[in-house]
């Protein structure tokens, strides 16, 4: 059992408030990912949970007990640092056994726990090496091993994969997910990479400038972003955002006018959208497909061919605006688009979103089946 509860948590350095009141619950055995742009306070929040940063205001509960004043070693947490922070003069074995040694564990107990961790992480062959004689991925595993041997209530990871190359990162993602299943542990994982967040999380916490923007499962955030920030942050390539005007509220949703004269009905609650108001239309790149009767038209400015997929950057023709907005359409790899030609794009209304003047999403009329 390991649950975490944050209540109105705040952190200031001098007069600069970095964490501006965070409320969050993390359930037992949950894999929670804090994601947000660099400098938004993810590491600070994680370090406050770890006990490495003092909590300026608010309450932190682990398993229901308030731990604001409990030291980092006594909170029963283990942390994997971005730089790994291995002890360079100790062997891999001693690195992993260090916490146990300080806790006064017997030699036999230490050996057993190190053996168990090194078996899980396939480090047996390297136990007598120094960290400098290991590759980046192996160091990463030692850092994780150092956490495992302590059997912590909660694992904390601060951008653990950001120093690895892309291939290794993909592999470690899978290993970490497997580890989470095998250990049945609560984990909190900090990253600025939304792919890591989407692929590993049970629950994603999107942070911006010291505040939580939205909490939810990966697909909930993808299909029902609460605001413009989350909509733009989650998903790659980014959601296309177009400034549009409400034409009318239909029973089926809100009808908005598109640049170039077309219209589309977005299936969202129409009570807050008076005709004529300016709103932001969000369209996922995969919701745009070439089609003769498409509602959007524009010139192809740039084509990125990824093989299986093609990303077409289309400058939308707009009679009102001389230089229309550019949208990205994610279409088939074999689609015969060429730079310079004019194409029409159809919009799948189910993958569109509307955001009001403050950037808040208008609620969809029905939930996406995968985002319960």
């Amino acid at each position: 059992m390991a649950t975490l509860r944050l209540r109105a948590l705040r952190k200031s350095y001098g007069t600069a408030e970095i964490i501006k009141g965070v409320d969050l619950d993390i359930a037992d055995r949950e894999f929670a990912v804090f994601v947000g742009p660099s400098g938004c306070g993810k590491s600070t929040l994680l370090r406050m949970i770890a006990g490495l940063e003092e909590i300026t205001d608010g309450d932190l509960f682990i398993d229901g007990a308030r731990v604001n004043e409990v030291g980092p070693a006594d909170r029963g947490l283990a942390m994997v640092f971005q730089s790994y922070a291995l002890y360079p003069h100790m062997s891999v074995r001693d690195n992993m056994a260090f916490a146990l040694k300080l806790a006064g564990a017997s030699k036999a107990e230490r050996a057993a726990k190190v053996a168990e961790a090194s078996r899980i992480l396939q480090l047996d062959a390297y136990l007598d090496r120094k960290p400098k004689d290991l590759s980046g991925g192996q160091r990463q595993r030692v850092a994780i091993g150092r956490a495992i041997v302590r059997h912590p209530k909660i694992f904390l990871f601060d951008e653990p994969l950001s120093n690895l190359d892309a291939a290794l990162r993909g592999q470690m993602r899978i290993e970490l997910a497997r580890l989470h299943r095998d250990l049945a542990a609560t984990m909190i994982y900090v990253t600025h990479d939304q792919v890591e967040a989407m692929t590993m999380a049970d629950k994603i916490v999107v942070l911006q400038a010291g505040r939580i923007e939205q909490v939810g499962s990966p697909l909930e955030l993808y299909h029902h972003p609460a605001n413009l920030f989350v909509a733009g942050f989650i998903g790659s390539p980014r959601m296309n955002l177009l400034p549009v005007r409400v034409v009318s509220g239909d029973p089926a949703g809100v009808r908005v006018g598109l640049p170039g004269g077309g219209e589309v009905v977005v299936p969202v609650d129409s009570t807050r959208a008076a005709p004529g108001t300016g709103v932001t239309l969000g369209i996922r790149p995969e919701a745009l497909k070439p089609g003769a009767e498409g509602a959007l038209a524009g010139a192809v400015r740039h084509v990125e061919r990824l093989g299986g997929l093609t990303l077409a950057h289309v400058a939308v023709t707009d009679s009102a605006v001389a230089d229309g907005a550019t949208v990205v359409a994610q279409i088939e790899g074999s689609a015969p688009v060429r730079v310079g030609e004019t194409i029409r794009l159809t919009i799948d209304p189910g993958a569109t979103h509307l955001f009001d003047g403050e950037g808040r999403a208008l609620p969809h009329q029905s939930r996406h089946p995968l985002a319960a």
């Binding site: 942390m79 640092f81 922070a85 002890y87 260090f98 300080l102």
Partner: protein
């Protein structure tokens, strides 16, 4: 594209001897000539007080040296001086380095003051300590003792070697602090945080993380200081002139006394050869241990 990479490699493997030859020759002459002359004089009868006595002395000078109780006393004094100053500066420097690494108001000024003594030249430092600090009547220590109602200590009469050790330590502590402080500052903070998460308190962090991190810098401090401490001279010359008796005579001062107070060039040269041998023994062990350490 596929130009064989052996061409530049071959070019780089040219014979460099003509280029380094001149400097090696100069350095060899620079070193060899004084060394050979010292060894040569140490085998001669050569006393400026009696220039008529000349000729080959064989090992007489050495025999005279090792049968002289002053020599063994000076050897002991040299080792005590070097050992004590090393201990004080390394231990004190390490503790001060860790202290000055902590954030506290006025830290930068404090650092500056702590490092300042290193820039005072040895004769001046010795004069300051002799006349302003340790003098039983005018000195700060004496005044402090009297203020507490204690008898003033005549440092150079009662604890001569200790006094010299204190002065030399005062001069070298800033050096150790400077080197060790930069080393402490290069310690990855996340390692300390990881240790905190692992349950290490302040002492355990120091012992298991900070000290091992400093070991390389400590060896460098020990090596450099040893080389200079073996030849401490000005401090002794200014404060005690080797006395009282031979209480503060180290090898460097003994050689000076032989050559320029007793005008016995032959005997002084024999002492010089012993100093060279001693320095080389120390250097041998130091370089070996440090070379091993630097590999880590």
């Amino acid at each position: 594209m596929s130009t064989p990479s052996t061409a530049p490699a071959k070019g780089r493997r040219f014979n460099g001897l003509p280029l380094i030859g001149p400097s090696v020759t100069v350095l060899l002459i620079w070193m060899i000539v004084p060394l050979v002359m010292t060894v040569w004089f140490s085998l001669q009868r050569y006393n400026l007080l009696d220039p008529t006595v000349t000729g080959f002395a064989g090992i007489d000078n050495y025999e005279f040296l090792v049968t002289d109780p002053d020599f063994w006393a000076s050897l002991a004094n040299t080792l005590i001086l070097v050992g004590s100053v090393l201990a004080i500066t390394v231990v004190g420097g390490t503790l001060l380095a860790v202290l000055f690494d902590q954030p506290f108001p006025g830290r930068d000024v404090a650092r500056l003051f702590a490092i300042a003594p290193f820039f005072v030249m040895p004769t001046v430092a010795a004069l300051i300590w002799k006349n302003l600090m340790m003098h039983p009547i005018y000195g700060v220590f004496g005044a402090a003792a009297r203020a507490l109602g204690l008898p003033a200590v005549d440092w150079f009469a009662d604890h001569p070697l200790l006094s010299v050790i204190l002065i030399v330590s005062w001069e070298w502590l800033p050096f150790a602090l400077l080197i060790l402080l930069t080393a402490v500052q290069s310690l990855d903070r996340e390692q300390l945080e990881a240790a905190r998460m692992d349950g290490a308190g302040a002492v355990a962090q120091f012992v298991y993380i900070v000290l091992p991190h400093l070991s390389r810098a400590i060896s460098v401090v020990v090596m450099i200081e040893t080389i200079f401490l073996l030849t401490v001279f000005a401090e002794i010359y200014v404060t005690t002139a080797g006395g009282p008796g031979n209480a503060t005579t180290n090898l460097a001062f003994l050689i000076y006394a032989r050559a320029l107070l007793q005008y016995d060039v032959g005997g002084a040269s024999a002492g010089g050869v012993v100093a060279i041998v001693l320095a080389n023994i120390v250097a041998f062990f130091l370089v070996r241990t440090i070379a091993r350490r630097l590999e880590v």
